[in-house]
């Protein structure tokens, strides 16, 4: 009897937790499907009475935010590629070669310490640099800063993956007379595929979500990213709720989809490799 009561109680608690958790997201999606007329109902409605995709059309086409979406993708992909290449160049020696323990620890700790750097403190001098060298309101400025800021994550994730590839496999190739570069290219690189992909997805998702740097370093749709555009919808004089919600949904869809693919690695990435999915 008592057991039954505990079960019901825990079920109830979990149900409430799920409801509190899901409801705001549900309401976001619902709002993004409402017509303009429905927005001005005296009491906000919980279901769209005449579901429409018009807000999405309005955001992407009328407000031309598809261009910002494109900027986000370009900046994200380029920054991810750059971060992965640099991270790999740093992780290869510290995991495959006998680099001194002190140096290795220094590199890893330094990378972790970047996690503590407050972006606003960095963007203040960076803003001056970017203006001075003529990169203000240009995507390369963003690509560069995104790559630098996601480097720690990329380093720690790749380090974890590379450590799991046995040294013996590469050594076998070396013994057979292959050069180190050849062994790297034909043995290690193919084996690192999964790790690179996983780290790439997580890093890309972070680039995609970034707001502050893009907000300060860009000014026009030429280089603005999608999150900056979404923020613009929020603070406009008259708030168009359904467009704003549609913008929110669009911003959410991509990272959530990527997360579903890379779900085994999300926590590994967020905790710098401490939590490992078995």
């Amino acid at each position: 009897m008592l057991r039954m009561a505990t079960r019901v109680a825990t079920g109830l608690i979990l149900l409430i937790a799920v409801a509190v958790f899901v409801f705001p997201l549900y309401y976001l999606v619902v709002t993004s499907l409402k017509t303009k007329a429905e927005l001005f109902a005296a009491v906000p409605t919980l279901f769209p009475h005449a579901p429409t995709l018009a807000p999405y059309f309005s955001v992407l086409v009328t407000r031309a935010m598809s261009g910002l979406l494109m900027n986000s993708v370009i900046a994200g992909l380029s920054a991810t590629a750059l971060a992965l290449v640099v991270a790999f160049a740093i992780c290869y020696p510290i995991t495959r070669l006998p680099v001194s323990r002190g140096l290795r620890t220094f590199v890893l700790n330094w990378a972790l310490s970047l996690r503590f750097l407050t972006p606003i403190a960095v963007v203040i001098p960076y803003f001056t640099i970017v203006r001075a060298i003529g990169l203000y309101n240009q995507l390369p400025a963003l690509i560069f800063v995104y790559a630098l800021f996601n480097l720690p994550l990329a380093i720690w994730m790749l380090k974890g993956f590379l450590e799991e590839i046995p040294l013996e496999i590469e050594e076998a190739a070396l013994v057979d007379g292959a050069t180190r570069f050849h062994a790297f290219r034909t043995v290690l690189l193919p084996l690192s595929g999964t790790g690179l992909l996983a780290a790439g997805i997580i890093v890309f998702a972070f680039d995609w979500a970034e707001f502050l740097y893009a907000f300060i370093l860009t000014a026009t749709p030429k280089a603005m990213t999608f999150p900056v555009g979404v923020q613009g919808l929020v603070t406009q004089f008259e708030i168009i709720w359904n467009d704003m919600a549609a913008g929110g949904v669009i911003a959410i869809v991509l990272p959530v989809t990527l997360m579903l693919f890379a779900r085994r690695y999300v926590m590994t990435g967020l905790t710098f490799g401490v939590i490992r999915e078995k």
């Binding site: 997201l25 972006p119 403190a121 923020q231």
Partner: protein
């Protein structure tokens, strides 16, 4: 066998390989290190020179540190941290224990696992949008659910004590699942034998947690605190969307204050001084707490 131990068996090979390692590592890492340090140096230079390039010493620093608004924003950040950190940790831990003890279905656990990851990967800006739809007056769904849409509806985002709570609640909504996931992962590492032995000895649920599970969770709790502090100190996006730091400056956290000085008042001299102080303080703080970190030291 560790790399070092392996290499010790062959001294000549080791020194050759070690040289190769340094040759590969140092150019790349050195460049990154320099690039990452440049903003700090430039901030120091900018903070100590006037607009016309004259050296003005520490004037900007005294101005920045003499501004009471700075301490106000530090205080608000502290209040925010004091609200969100304990709540997220206790709630996340409680939920992890609850699911760990009562949900045995593998499929259900997998569903919870994926669902809990959703808020973590949502861009902060979108989180701001989501909660504007919840808390805003007139259109916000919370007041509608409370049956309040008239003139005396609750102003969740624009009345002083409430705005802080609303903004904090968003953080709690987004990051409790993160704590949950880490704690749940930690609970899976507790050896079944010790739990079974404890239960044979008649341990209650609480003693089982207090004396066995907590022992395994302690390093992870430190990890959670580490990452959450790093995030709380930089919080900007969702607050900017929800309150913009207001009403007044009641939710103006450190990042929002620096933003205002640099880009609203365009006082780049003072802002650079602030940036230097914040970067130095964060580095010191990191050095202080990183020694407690369970993360592998390399």
């Amino acid at each position: 066998m560790s790399l070092a131990a392996r290499a010790r068996t062959n001294w000549s090979a080791r020194s050759r390989q070690e040289r190769l390692g340094l040759r590969l590592l140092l150019p790349v890492f050195g460049t990154v290190l320099v690039i990452a340090t440049i903003p700090f140096i430039l901030a120091v230079i900018r903070a100590t020179t006037a607009d016309d390039g004259r050296f003005i010493g520490i004037d900007n620093f005294t101005k920045a540190l003499g501004n009471t608004q700075l301490y106000e924003s530090v205080k608000q950040t502290g209040v925010y941290a004091a609200l969100v950190l304990p709540t997220e940790i206790l709630l996340g831990l409680a939920l992890a224990l609850l699911v760990h003890r009562t949900v045995k279905s593998v499929a259900l656990r997998a569903v919870i696992y994926v669902a809990a990851m959703i808020p973590i990967v949502i861009p902060q800006i979108a989180i701001g949008v989501v909660f504007r739809l919840v808390y805003a007056p007139d259109y916000g769904i919370l007041n509608a659910l409370l049956g309040d849409t008239g003139h005396n509806q609750i102003l969740w985002l624009s009345s002083p004590p409430l705005a802080m709570l609303s903004v904090a609640s968003v953080d709690i909504w987004q990051w409790t699942p993160f704590v949950y996931l880490i704690m749940f992962a930690g609970l899976q590492t507790v050896p079944v034998e010790s739990i079974e032995a404890a239960q044979l000895d008649g341990a209650t649920s609480w003693t089982q947690f207090r004396h066995i599970e907590l022992h395994y969770l302690r390093p992870l709790l430190l990890l959670v605190i580490f990452f959450r502090i790093a995030d709380v100190l930089r919080v900007f996006d969702h607050v900017y969307v929800l309150t913009g730091g207001g009403p007044g400056t009641t939710t103006e956290f450190l990042s929002l204050y620096l933003y205002r000085v640099a880009f609203r008042f365009s006082d780049l001299g003072q802002a650079s001084a602030l940036a230097v102080v914040v970067m130095a303080a964060m580095t010191a703080f990191y050095t202080l707490i990183s020694r407690f970190l369970p993360a592998e030291k390399g």
